[in-house]
Amino acid sequence: MKKILLLEDRPGRQMQYLDPEKIKKLKTTKDLKILLGNDCRYMIDKLNHADDSELNDFTLIIIHRSALSNVGIDTVTNHCKVNNKYLVFFSGGISQSLFSSQSFQYLLLNSKDFYQSNMFNFLDKFIKGEIEHITELIYGNNWKLNLMLNYRQLLLKGELGRTEEEFKENIEKLIGKLPLEELNKKIKTKITLI
């Protein structure tokens, strides 16, 4: 079972995007620790003082980025880097959702995208170990399409460095080793069906 920590210091925003029923459901989900408003204050203060001890139990950490100071952001980022955990930062000020897997898997999300995505479904599947790639949080069923597009980009590039080769191999573990022609067809079909 994978455990998730969700820190949101703006109770108003949750109310804006989620109805009380959904919030209640979130709070009762096993292996999901969700701290809202003042409840997350003590943990945020700890992180802002470079204390990451509260993060140890969790595999996926989801935090409102603006709640943290730069020390807090660095503390969380380093913790996830060192322990190879998944990190999702969301914020209203982020104009475009971004993903990186440089040293660990890291998502930077717009808060509207976060709350309006298939968040519930994703959290449930993650806890059960059913999530194959974290970008499923932003792209839902199109996460595989995204990987295919990445894969095609790598194939078309031709010469790959070591990191790129590793990345390509990781993708192949999820979607298989596809020749370009077949890949093009699959991508076209997937896009057509959107």
């Binding site: 980022t77 209203g92 000020g93 993903f99 990186s100 078309l156």
Partner: protein, 569 residues
């Protein structure tokens, strides 16, 4: 080929090497994990460097600038930045997107795809130099530059949505107003974050192009006439509004004629109830003369589904609470909203004015307007706060008197009603005559008291006790009131003054000086209703003039309050 290729090391190195133009790598993958990473700012700076001192004829961009997350499709952002940023000098330059997808496929994958269907945008899926060169030549021949009209149309079609934390267009106006007003007073150094956002943020560039604003001159803060305390309640105070107002009031803060404070609170993490509670505590503790109050103070206030009504806004509720603390505290609503209905409903619960934070107004006029509003309301608060306090105290005395049966219930209730009516008129004063009308309304209280505590029985006027009502008249030689025995009331009916004088001496045990002051209060009213034909003494003239300002009302109120307190003891 006078062209530039923008990529992120995600294209074939063979193609990139052979590209017969300039190349620039825009790769944010290393920077994305930095605590202060902002994509728009990053792209703006990179593009600024790329285009500096260059004038390319065609720009080639790969659809995506991510090696690990293709669907970011940030090439589209780059193109939008180029179209929206005058300083890059390439707004009219044709752009060619590179990638195996068609624009129609990209349109299904990104909400930024509108740009693909605007003027001067081309695409290619052929990554060989021959095809690129042919395309370049074709573009130079057929479509070398966008016209201004084409550029305008292209920008309109972009339809860029604001970031989630700018939850309505009012938030944009809010920031633009902050920037322009701060620039005017030359205190914009403190709002570097806001300035940076407005300069580099894609949405703000879009908004500014569609809503151009004339540059404004600079000015200096005014020295506000008057003195008092000003409290700012604004969830964006720390963003720059606190600094702006500190700058605005700086001369008054320095000479201590104005005390300025801000409600310090983490608004975003607080519930509406908590914000209201904290605001009330601060108002009670600081007891300001003016509150500059933002209407929308928490996320709930920005609900669009369903749309929040003005009466549900946090600022509206705080306004109601402030007026319960003291109606005399002047509340100025600060808002970026241009919806008239927002203001009207706040006037219904006692707002005393509003400041609209607009991004496109005449800044010098805005600053002058703030000065005028503050000065006017400092004056109003100066007399209204103490008047309110006195009326509240008087109301409590009357309620207590009714409860303990010291005064007749109907009499007490009528007196309270008359006080409310007169105060409402006093609160709404706009001219000197309005002060007089409020005075007349308040005077009804004195008449009511006189009629309640005097009566006629078997042809003889009595004071409650009962004792016969004495007739008092001013002896100018002795400089005191003397009793006229037997009473010689005109038409056998004592005037209001004669009743009040009798009450004062016989029931309330007043001194001559107190009764003389009551005489002036009554004379003020009489002179307004029936001006004398004879010349008045200088002293009387001065006393009568007080009906046209706040002093007359307050003096009369104090007298009524003293009488009531004595009666209800």
């Amino acid at each position: 080929m006078n062209a530039i290729l923008i990529h992120a090391n995600n294209l074939s190195p063979f193609f990139v090497d052979k590209f017969p133009g300039d190349k620039v790598v825009i790769d944010y993958s290393q920077s994305i994990q930095r605590w202060n990473f902002n994509l728009d700012r990053f792209l703006h700076e990179e593009l600024s460097n790329a285009f500096k001192n260059h004038e390319y004829k065609v720009i080639f961009i790969s659809y995506t600038l991510s090696q690990q997350n293709y669907l970011e499709l940030t090439g589209l952002h780059i193109a939008a930045h180029i179209r929206l940023t005058c300083e890059f000098n390439h707004q009219h330059t044709p752009i060619v997107f590179i990638g195996p997808e068609t624009p129609w496929e990209i349109a299904k994958l990104s909400e930024f795809s509108n740009i693909l269907f605007t003027h001067g945008i081309f695409y290619t899926d052929k990554l060989d130099i021959g095809s690129i060169q042919n395309q370049y030549n074709w573009i130079i021949e057929k479509k070398p530059k966008l016209t201004d009209e084409e550029l305008t149309k292209s920008i309109k079609r972009l339809q860029i949505i604001p970031p989630a934390n700018y939850q309505s267009h009012h938030s944009i106006d809010n920031e633009l107003a902050l920037l322009r007003w701060s620039e005017y007073l030359q205190c914009d150094r403190q709002i570097s974050e806001v300035k940076e956002n407005l300069k580099t943020g894609l949405y703000f560039k879009y908004h500014r192009v569609l809503n151009p604003v004339k540059p404004s001159k600079t000015g200096t803060p005014y020295l506000i006439s008057g003195e008092g305390k000003v409290l700012l309640i604004d969830d964006e105070a720390e963003k720059g509004w606190e600094d702006f107002y500190k700058c605005f009031f700086q001369y008054n803060i320095n000479n201590k004629s104005i005390q300025f404070e801000t409600l310090k609170l983490d608004f975003k993490s607080s519930t509406q109830e908590n914000i209201i509670k904290e605001a009330c505590c601060k108002v009670t503790e600081f007891y300001p003369d003016i509150v500059l109050l933002d209407l929308r103070l928490c996320d709930k206030d920005f609900n669009t589904n369903p749309q929040s009504e003005p009466k549900d806004f946090t600022g509206y509720k705080i306004l109601e609470e402030i007026k319960k603390i003291n109606k005399g505290i002047q509340v100025i609503i600060t808002t970026a909203s241009n919806k008239v209905w927002n203001y009207q409903s706040t006037y219904d619960v006692g707002a005393n004015g509003y400041l609209i934070k607009k991004g496109d107004s005449d800044v010098a006029e805005d600053i002058k307007n703030i000065k005028h509003i503050v000065e006017t309301n400092l004056i109003r608060a100066g007399y209204l706060k103490c008047t309110c306090k006195k009326i509240d105290s008087l109301r409590n005395s009357l309620d207590s008197g009714i409860r303990h049966k010291k005064i007749n219930r109907n009499f007490g209730k009528e007196l309270i009603n008359l006080l409310e009516i007169s105060f409402r008129m006093y609160d709404n004063v706009r001219t000197n005559e309005d002060f007089a009308y409020a005075y007349l309304a308040l005077f009804k209280c004195l008449e009511l008291i006189a009629d309640e505590y005097t009566f006629i029985d078997c042809g003889i006027w009595q004071v409650v006790g009962p004792t016969p009502l004495n007739h008092y008249s001013w002896d100018d030689q002795m400089k005191k009131y003397k009793k006229i025995d037997p009473p010689r009331f005109k038409n056998d009916i004592p005037t209001t003054f004669e009743k009040i004088a009798a009450l004062s001496f016989q029931l309330l045990k007043y001194k001559d000086t107190d009764v003389q002051q009551l005489y002036y209060s009554i004379k003020r009213r009489n002179e307004f209703i029936h001006p004398s034909e004879k010349d008045l003494s200088e002293k009387l003239k001065e006393e009568c003039k007080r009906i046209y300002n706040h002093e007359g009302y307050f003096v009369l109120l104090k007298q009524i309050s003293d009488i009531v307190n004595k009666i209800t003891q």
